[in-house]
Symmetry: C2
Subunit: 198 residues, 2 copies
């Protein structure tokens, strides 16, 4: 009727709309009809931009992963010490998730892990994160495998902490992303033994 868009803009809009829909009901629970309707168009339009439902989901996944990774890299680049980089990375991670919760749900909760093709995309993202963190662990004599294991633990802290955080704090962002990141970075850096009362 009224809302015709050039291909590039429509492509971008479809990615954004699909992200929201996939985040709400997962890959299998979201129909192409729903996404089309939410975008204000009809189904064949979707198929002009994406070859299949799987292709659309993959594109959404890659898009959101790239955006998140870029922000984390940017944040860690600003810090000088390894410790500050860990804290900055966490802060960027939590801030991104707070701003864009759908990204979190699509990356870590939309049924991604069960599908080899989709899991590979998320795995690559997590793997890049873990590699970056592993480089920050400057302990002499530690084997690469051990360093990587520790780095994955850090990634896990970020992921599950943000999950619990997004779950409880619906509108009231009780701790700010920065405060949360500071606490979590302390846990990561000093461990339970190193935690002290304020």
């Amino acid at each position: 009727m009224s809302n015709r868009l050039p291909a590039a803009e429509r492509h971008r809009q479809l990615l954004d709309v699909a992200l929201v829909e996939f985040a709400r009901d997962g890959f299998r629970g979201t129909s192409m009809n729903r996404i089309a309707e939410a975008a204000g168009v009809t189904k064949p339009v979707l198929y002009q931009h994406f070859a299949s439902k799987r292709a659309l989901f993959g594109a959404v996944l890659a898009d959101v992963g790239e955006r998140l990774a870029a922000e984390i890299v940017e944040a860690t680049a600003l810090a000088t010490t390894p410790r500050a980089q860990v804290a900055g990375g966490f802060a960027a991670y939590f801030a991104f998730m707070a701003r864009n919760r759908d990204a979190f749900f699509v990356l870590f909760g939309a049924g991604t892990s069960r599908d080899d093709e989709f899991a590979a995309i998320v795995r690559r993202f997590e793997s890049d994160m873990a590699d970056t963190i592993a480089d920050l662990i400057v302990i002499e004599g530690l084997s690469p495998g051990h360093r990587r294991l520790l780095a994955q633990g850090i990634v896990g802290i970020a992921e599950v902490t943000s999950r619990n955080w997004l779950r409880s704090a619906d509108a009231a962002l009780d701790p700010s992303p920065d405060a949360l990141a500071a606490q979590v970075a302390t846990l990561a850096w000093s461990g339970l033994r190193g935690i002290e009362a304020p």
Copy 2:
């Protein structure tokens, strides 16, 4: 034909079969027909034991959560110091997941998080775990909220570490559950700063 079972045994078998199927393709990706076929019966048999697909999935979730929680509680009860309890809990967790990978996939990857009813079951499990761990953190003067945040971080380490572990080590269980637990417990307890080369 040949394989008639008493109701109680069939019920148990259906739970086990459904766990495997749901683990492979998630809640929405698994059909009742598939589960029935995998169990060697037909669909109406499923509906004699479980009112609906949702009810079946919920029963599987609760069953597997209870079994895992019981093993962790048992393991931590054997240890005397908090530090040993953390290590023992991790070991029990990893051992359970190694023995029963489907449990992990159903609890953390089957599209559970997107559904309020199912998420509540998993959340209760994680919440119980976090509460137990929070009690082990014996730092004076730490606020309950802060303790709980740290405990959730620990749960996150366990979850994501086991995910990466199950992913890479398909048949070759590179590190044993106990060795893995020891490394991870050290990370949790001493933090990156406390890690030393062997």
